[in-house]
């Protein structure tokens, strides 16, 4: 018997990703809006959306090793969805930062992006994810041809920048950022050859 996932399996897997990603975000924003998200709901939301984006991006990077290991190629069909949700969370993260932390002081946003290295780094990662999201459809893939893969290899740089943004933003407790960096390095190590080729 051939191992694999039916179309129905994929449908439910995608439904689960939608449900968890959207549901979790909605629930957390609801709790923040009604003052049930700890003492400082703004901090709570920024943390939740930031970590959420990182989690989803790591899930996205698990897919290709998972396909190789399980030999179930159909997992590939949920990768774009995970990537899009990673950007969706990053969008919520930046939007919440501008709306609730900076309270729409655009000048302050510009100066923070320039002056604060961890914000510069986070914003750079956001721009990369934006570019990947805008070129994630089939039409863009066709139009860009061979350049599409080149562009989408930038996801590794984005992941590294996000890790740096995270570890720089914490006061002293770097345990959790280090765990994330460990997971990221593990996922990157599966692509050692590819990354070394990119480097050259």
């Amino acid at each position: 018997m051939v191992r694999g996932l039916s179309r129905r399996n994929i449908f439910w897997l995608k439904a689960l990703i939608h449900l968890l990603s959207l549901g979790w975000a909605l629930l957390t924003y609801y709790r923040a809006g009604t003052d049930q998200l700890g003492g400082d709901p703004v901090e709570g939301i920024l943390h939740f959306t930031g970590i959420g984006a990182f989690n989803l991006l790591l899930l996205c990077l698990i897919i290709s090793p998972l396909v190789r290991w399980s030999r179930i190629s159909q997992f590939m069909q949920v990768r774009r969805l995970l990537g899009l949700y990673a950007f969706f969370y990053a969008l919520l993260h930046l939007a919440s930062y501008i709306l609730f932390e900076l309270q729409l002081e655009w000048q302050l946003l510009l100066s923070e992006i320039v002056k604060r290295p961890y914000i510069t780094v986070g914003f750079s990662a956001w721009i990369i994810l934006l570019a990947l999201t805008l070129t994630s459809n089939k039409a863009a893939q066709r139009r860009l041809g061979r350049n599409w893969q080149k562009l989408h290899n930038w996801v590794y740089l984005a992941a590294g920048l996000i890790a740096l943004h995270y570890i720089w933003s914490v006061k002293s407790d770097i345990t959790q950022p280090l765990v994330y960096i460990g997971v990221l390095l593990l996922l990157l190590s599966f692509r050692k050859d590819k990354l070394l080729k990119l480097w050259r």
């Binding site: 009604t34 400082d40 006061k171 407790d173």
Partner: protein, 331 residues
């Protein structure tokens, strides 16, 4: 919006009924097999202290007798937020950790040793902490170095009252403070992954003229009751013109010394946290701005209010302590 502050004469439900009778009653209810009623009671209690059930320990506070502060225009941070949003790495580094992990913290018996370059060193027991001087309420702004702030009604006495009792020698130039070191009770102290990489015990210090300033305060309570464990029970420092990390919690030792004592955050990252740590909107933390702060009051995400940070957190009366000093250099 206005927050109703409980005064000493407003009774709460659990004060109307004697606590012992109250507990017996619930016990009886459960024994009689009112499963539904029992479950209701259990969930009622759980809502107050996160995930603890009926049999879990719960930190006990007691009502204090004190002189009330004058009413003022500042909106107080609600008690639930003051007691659930804490930086007390001895009990974990998440803001919600101290409340979750400090419920079994033992503060009675307690010993606060006052020594060093003083004429009369002494030690205070738990009961004596509340009797050293008449208790008074002070409503202070607390500005955290992480750029959020609260307004808290503390109860306690001037640090100066304690120093006067010890009578510092003229050779004493600084006051050093030390938090309890008890890894059995404080999970952050015995596990580097839970304590934020800090070398415990937590230590802090003030110049002696800063310590003697009438604003420097030793708090033994807040919101009418003795301090909850997560806020630094049984006694903590409150220096309202400095960043919150200077206001050391659960103090076991206060020593008058002749040299500037080491301070915990300065030891951890000297380029980010200085000895003085005066609130100053013009001197940024290397990684984030200190120009503004988020005032924590009631309301969720959509009522968050960001306000300008004031030099010395608005306590201008301390400015003379630093005349002629470069506050950029002595951050």
């Amino acid at each position: 919006m206005l927050i109703k502050r409980p005064t000493s004469w407003t009774l709460k439900d659990n004060q109307v009924t004697d606590e012992k009778i109250y507990q017996q009653r619930r016990h009886l209810l459960k024994q009689m097999g009112f499963i539904g009623a029992g479950a209701l009671l259990a969930s009622h209690q759980a809502s107050g202290i996160s995930l603890f059930g009926d049999d879990e320990p719960r930190f006990k506070t007691h009502v204090l007798d004190y002189a009330e502060a004058q009413q003022q225009s500042q909106i107080l941070t609600p008690e639930t937020k003051v007691t659930s949003h804490n930086n007390f790495y001895e009990f974990g580094t998440d803001k919600s950790d101290p409340k979750a992990n400090a419920q079994a913290f033992q503060v009675d018996p307690w010993q606060l040793r006052v020594d060093g370059l003083v004429e009369t060193p002494f030690t205070l027991s738990f009961d004596e902490l509340f009797k050293l001087a008449p208790l008074q309420e002070r409503i202070y702004r607390l500005r955290c170095v992480e750029a959020w702030s609260m307004v808290i009604p503390w109860i306690g006495f001037s640090l100066n009252a304690l120093l006067n009792k010890a009578r510092p020698l003229s050779s004493g130039k600084y006051v050093a403070f030390e938090t309890l070191y008890d890894p059995k009770q404080m999970p952050g102290q015995n596990n580097p992954f839970r304590g934020g990489g800090i070398d415990y015990p937590y230590v802090e210090g003030l110049r002696i003229d800063e310590a003697a300033h009438p604003l420097s305060f030793l708090a033994v309570g807040l919101y009418g009751k003795s301090l909850p464990a997560q806020n630094g029970a049984p006694i903590r420092l409150v220096v309202p013109w400095k960043y919150g990390f200077k206001s050391i919690k659960s103090i076991v030792r206060i020593s008058v010394v002749d040299k500037q004592p080491p301070t915990t955050w300065n030891l951890l990252a000297a380029q980010e946290y200085g000895f003085y740590a005066n609130v100053n909107p013009k001197v940024d933390h290397p990684r984030w701005s200190q120009a503004r702060e988020r005032r924590i009051t009631t309301g969720g995400l959509f009522s968050s209010n960001r306000i300008d940070t004031q030099l010395f957190n608005g306590y201008d009366e301390v400015a003379s302590l630093y005349s002629g000093m470069d506050l950029r250099q002595h951050y």
